[in-house]
Structure formats: C-alpha cells, structure tokens
C-alpha cells in the first residue's frame, strides 16, 4: 500500500468529519436541552440549500451565506414555538413522530414547489481551484467549508461556555425544574437554542450547495449519518459530538483507503454498535438524570 496515499486518506476523512459536525451539533443541542429528537433537522438543511439557490442571483454566494442561516434560524424559532414546545414534557416518542412528519411535509413541500429533479448550484469563482500541500491536493472550497465549520464550532462553544446565556442553557440541560424554581424561565432559551441549532443546519445547506446537487431528499440523506454521530458522541456533550464527527469521517476514509469502500457506510454503523456496547451513553456522554 502507498503509505502517503493512506495518510492523505486519513486526513481527508478527518476533514470530511467537519461536515457531519455541522449538522450533528445542532441535533445534539436540541436533543440535550429539550429532549426533542429532531428528525426534521435534515429537512432544514435542505431548505437552506434551496434558499441559497433562490437568493444567490440577488445576494451572491457570500451574501447568501449570512442571510440564509438567519432565515432558517427564524424558521427554527417558529417551529419551536408552534411545535416543539408542546412535546417537551411528553414521551420522546411523540416528538419523534411529529418531527418525522414535519420532515416529510418539508421534503414533499420542496418537491412540490421546486420539482424533484436535482438542481445545479455553481461554485463561487473566488473559491474555485485546488490547494497543494506537498503532494496532498485539496479543494480550495473545502478548506473554506472547514474554516466555516470550525468557526461555527468555536462560536457555539464560546456561547455555551463563556456567556451567561450558555450557563443557563447548560443548567437547563441538567435540571430544568431547579432552574424554574430559581425563577428562570427556560422558554426563551429553548427558542433561542432551536433557532441556533436549526440555523446551523441552514448554514450547512448553503455550504453543501456548491458540491452536492440540490434535491428534495438531500436532508433525509444526511440526517441518519448525523444521528449516528450524536449517538456515538454522547448526549449533552459538545466535545463528544466533535470527536464523534471526526471519528466517523476517519473510519469512512480508512475503509476507502484499504479498498473496502463498499463497507464504508456500514462501518460507521458498526462503529456506533461497538461504542454503544462499550459505553451506552456514547463516548463522552454525561449522565443526564431525566434521560436515564
């Protein structure tokens, strides 16, 4: 085996993990705070991509990159207010059903509005081309994408760990009732977190548009892998999600590097299986009383 290529594959796999992270972070946030399994997360990612398609002629790619996540975040807040809020205190099975339904409604809505055929989105000229690091070639656009993903990651981390907003959210994850007893209403925080999390999905949608065809089922394609990342990482753990995303990318890259590409997706599920056997709460999952 070509040793250099093998290393390049592992590096590429790691970088690949950052896309999973973008989707999985939001999923994990909503899940941790409200206990909602948001199966519609992928659908918001698709909405982000379609909005990019529609708005780019007016705003250019970089304008869209700012505006679309904000619009999708707004949709997230509305969804939280109208839908999620009714399901915080009931069996998680109900939220699973309602978000599954929402995912289908959105996917079918996109199909109805835009048609099922996949659509092309041209890559912005400024980000075309490749970067050579020695013999390792990488796409300039993907470096940009990873930069954005890291920026989003750092932003979320700072928000959760260095602000009073984050302190309340973290407290809310552990024990919402005590928070209520202290006179702090969690409601606005739940809305804000849903907005941020779903806005991240919208951002991911914009970022993927230049490298994937845009089609109504694109959300369903990505949401399963994102869930696997959240489960491997562990509920309520920020770094767990980051670690799991990179690990998933790495495992996939490794399988392709050793000529077992047919098993590359299956290997991710195997990884989840092994992690759950050894650590049922995920790699870095903390003990959250109300989910035990």
């Amino acid at each position: 085996m070509n040793f250099f290529l093998f290393g390049a594959q592992l590096l590429n796999g790691l970088l690949d993990g950052f896309y999973y992270m973008l989707i999985a972070l939001g999923l994990s946030l909503i899940f941790s705070l409200g206990g909602i399994v948001n199966l519609a997360h992928g659908a918001f990612y698709a909405i982000g991509a379609y909005l990019a398609l529609v708005l780019t002629p007016y705003l250019s790619f970089f304008g869209v990159l700012i505006v679309v996540p904000l619009i999708v975040a707004g949709l997230g807040v509305v969804t939280e207010r109208l839908l999620f809020t009714r399901f915080y205190r009931v069996d998680p099975l109900y939220s699973l059903l309602v978000t599954f339904g929402l995912a289908m409604v959105i996917e079918q809505g996109l199909r109805w509005w835009f048609g099922a055929p996949p659509q092309a989105y041209a890559m912005p000229d400024a980000l075309k081309g490749q970067v050579f690091l020695g013999d390792f070639v990488y796409s300039r656009y993907r470096l940009f994408l990873i930069g954005m993903a890291v920026a989003a990651m750092v932003g979320v981390w700072l928000l959760l760990n260095r602000t009073s907003f984050g302190r309340i959210v973290r407290a809310g994850i552990q024990n919402p009732d005590i928070l209520g007893a202290m006179g702090i209403s969690l409601r606005p925080y739940l809305s804000a977190v849903a907005g941020i999390a779903i806005g991240l999905a919208g951002l991911a949608g914009v970022l993927m548009a230049p490298i994937y065809p845009i089609h109504p089922a694109m959300g369903a394609e990505i949401v399963t892998a994102a869930f696997v990342v959240v489960v491997i990482g562990g509920l309520g753990s920020f770094w767990g999600v980051v670690l799991a995303a990179l690990l998933v990318g790495l495992v996939k890259g490794f399988m392709i590097a050793v000529d077992q590409s047919a098993m590359s997706m299956a290997a991710i599920y195997m990884l989840m299986f092994v992690v759950l056997l050894l650590r049922p709460r995920g790699l870095m999952g903390s003990r959250i009383l109300r989910f035990e």
Partner: protein
C-alpha cells in the same frame, strides 16, 4: 334464527345482484381502460420518477383528448413504488382491486423484478420503462414483462463503441467507480468484459455505497492511480455529486460512464458536466415526433423532457397500439408485443420492435457529449447528442451482443 323477513331480504339482495351483477362487466367494455403506473417517486431515484409521471400523464392526456383507445378513455392509477417489497404489494393491489390492464413504469432493477414476478402470476403485461439490468432480460426474464428502457448491454456497446473510436480502450487503463447494487454490479461485469475483449486494463475499481454523497476519498485514490480514463457505473444523484466534486478537485483524466440520465447532467451544471455518456433518448433527437413531444412537454411543464420521460411516454403509446389491435387481454397483448413484425413508432429514425427472445425493445440509442461551459446555448443544451447508434446500415441486434445476466427462457 332466520325469519321469513330475513329470507326475503336476502333473496331480494341476491336478486338484485343477479340482475345488476353483469352490468359492471358490460360497463368494462365501454368504460375507461385502467392502466397502473408504478415508479419510485421518493428516494434517490425519485427525481427521475417525477419525469416518468409527468410524461405518462401527458401521454394519457393526449390519447384521451384524441378519443381514447377505440372510444374508451384511459384511466391512469399512479403510485410510488418505494422499494421492491412495496412495489410488489402495490402491483398486486393494482391487479386485484383496480383491475388494471397492464402496469407501466419502474426505474430500479430490483423493484422491476418483484413487479415482474407479480404481473407474471396474474398474466398481466408489465412494461418496464427505466430498469436497465441485463438479468431482467436474462435469467430473470418473464413472459409478460417487456422493456422499453434499453438494457445495460446496449449502453455498454454504444458507449464502448464511442470509447473505441476515441482510442480510450486499447492499451489504456481505466478506474471504475460502481454503485453497490444490482444495476451497478451488472454494469461493472459488462464493462470489465468489454475492457478485456478490447485489450484494456483496470487501474482501480471501487464499489460505492448507494447512500454515499462524498467522493473526496475516491478522488484522492483516482489521482494517485493515474488512470487514462475514469469510468463510472453510478446511478441517480450520485452521478451529479461525483461530477461536481471531480471538477472541484481539478482531476484531469477524461470521464465516461455506462449508465446515465440527462437530468443528472443538468444537476451537475454546465461547468461540472463532462465526458461522453450513453442514453436512450434526449430532447435534442431530431425527428418530427420527438420534437413534437418536447414541445408538448415543455408547454405543459416549463422544462424539456429527459430520457426517463421518453420511456414512460413511449410505453403508454406502445400499449395503446397493442390494445387497439388485440384488446385488453394480457395474453393477447403479450402475443402482439412479442411479435417482431409489429413495429412501434418510438420517435426515432427507425421504428422499434420487441426482441422475441428477451422482450427488449430494439431501438436506436445515442451518446451525449458535454459542451465546454461557454458553448452551452441554454441551461438544457449543455451537451450534444450523437447520431443514432447503431448506424442506419447496422442491425439493432449488434447492440445486445455480449449481454451479461444469463439466458432468458421465459420459464419454458
């Protein structure tokens, strides 16, 4: 305990049934002719399924507006086939409950097989409009199953001829990327056999899971393997993803493929679409009927039809011709279709007919070649369509030689 009143009521009901019972049967000969349309409308083949549905609707609308089939209107019952199990259940229901004359549609080779098995038991005709696997025309063939969609071997031969002409086979190395399911495996087998016959060799060969969306790892391997040609046997939106990312990573070897749909070229966009690909039909086919179809479709839906639309449109017209000639009986339609002296206008230069040995519609096919982005004349015309293959002086049968997938015996 049954009373006299009960008895009277029962006999009254029975009497009514006896009197009115035959009526629906009578009505069937003047009422609408029901045809089932079953194709994937969700999932990774859903985008193509939508074209299929639009074209089938258009064909039925045109036929009904012109007076139907022998004065009877066509009623089209449309369903999403979803997956092989659901496809079979829905086919069963269409036959038992809706009493369809025939079923038209499908894209997935796996689902086409289960529908074919269901229609075979009921002795109803199934016209496959989108599934390519050679096995469906070989070991898995069915007496009542016909194929408007070209089989993989036809694409391998058409595309292969192009590659031979371009000097991309003899003494050259290929890197193959293949979708990891029946369609891809079948195509891979055909491609490898073709390569071996023509003195080419394999630089690399990967199976791609159907749920993979990222090709960067494969692109790194291809770059390292330095093949002369990259050949894909991918399907659905994966082809568009692959082409966009191939462009993104700036790889240089020419790209070709044995399976394709023009909608995927459009989804890749003029900047990323490249290479030469086989197809059963494009909106650029320059015959009067094709252009009339393109116009009617574009007027109705605001965009031109692609190859899947062609399949379902032509299939409905073929069925109409058969029912007009022999009526709605499944066996009679089968006998009519499989007689090679019955030809069908398939909107190309030469009329088509079904090969009696494997029920494949013998017809001209084409290759499309990407235009440089600055030469594309519209968002749809980002490629040019070749002359028909085979050339006018060659037999259609040259297209199905060297098919893989076993021999067809119709269970006899």
């Amino acid at each position: 305990m049954p009373t006299r009143r009960h008895l009277l009521a029962t006999s009254a009901v029975l009497g009514c049934l006896a009197v009115f019972g035959p009526l629906p049967a009578l009505a069937q000969d003047t009422g609408p002719i029901t045809i089932g349309h079953l194709t994937p409308r969700t999932g990774f083949l859903g985008p193509l399924g939508e074209y299929a549905v639009m074209a089938a609707d258009l064909a039925v609308e045109e036929i009904n507006a012109a007076g139907g089939i022998g004065g009877r209107q066509i009623e089209l019952i449309k369903e999403d086939s979803v997956n092989p199990q659901t496809a079979s259940t829905k086919a069963e229901r269409m036959i038992e409950r809706d009493n369809v004359v025939a079923i038209v549609g499908e894209i997935s080779s796996a689902s086409a097989l289960t529908i074919g098995q269901t229609t075979e038991r009921a002795k109803k005709v199934f016209i496959n409009t989108g599934a390519n696997s050679d096995a469906l025309r070989g070991a898995d063939c069915k007496k009542h199953m016909f194929h408007v969609e070209t089989q993989n071997a036809m694409y391998v031969n058409a595309e292969g001829q192009h590659l031979l002409n371009e000097g991309m086979v003899d003494g050259k190395t290929w890197y193959l990327l293949t979708a990891d399911y029946a369609f891809g495996h079948d195509l891979l087998e055909g491609a490898k056999a073709f390569l071996e016959r023509n003195n080419g060799s394999i630089a690399g060969d990967d199976l791609v899971p159907t749920d993979a969306t990222d090709f960067s790892s494969y692109l790194l391997k291809i770059r390292d393997a330095k093949p002369d040609v990259v050949v894909t046997n991918l399907a659905g939106t994966q082809i568009s993803s692959f082409l966009k990312q191939y462009d993104e990573f700036g790889l240089e070897p020419p790209v070709a493929g044995f399976g394709f749909d023009t909608a995927l070229a459009w989804a890749a966009g003029p900047e990323s679409f490249r290479g030469t690909w086989p197809t059963v039909w494009t909106h650029q086919v320059d015959t009067e009927r094709s252009q009339a179809f393109v116009k009617a479709f574009t007027d109705k839906y605001g965009k031109p039809p692609e190859n899947q639309a062609f399949g379902d449109y032509v299939a409905i017209h073929i069925l109409k011709q058969a029912i007009e000639a022999v009526g709605t009986d499944g066996e009679a339609i089968t006998a009519y279709l499989e007689d090679p002296s019955n030809t069908f206008d398939v909107m190309k230069n030469r009329p088509g007919y079904f090969n009696p040995d494997n029920h494949q519609l013998m017809q001209e096919v084409y290759t499309i070649t990407a235009l440089p982005a600055d030469q594309a004349t519209s968002e749809w015309d980002i490629f040019i369509t070749s002359d028909p293959v085979p050339a006018a002086d060659q037999e259609f049968e040259t297209l199905i030689q060297d098919a893989v997938g076993g021999t067809c015996s119709f269970g006899e």
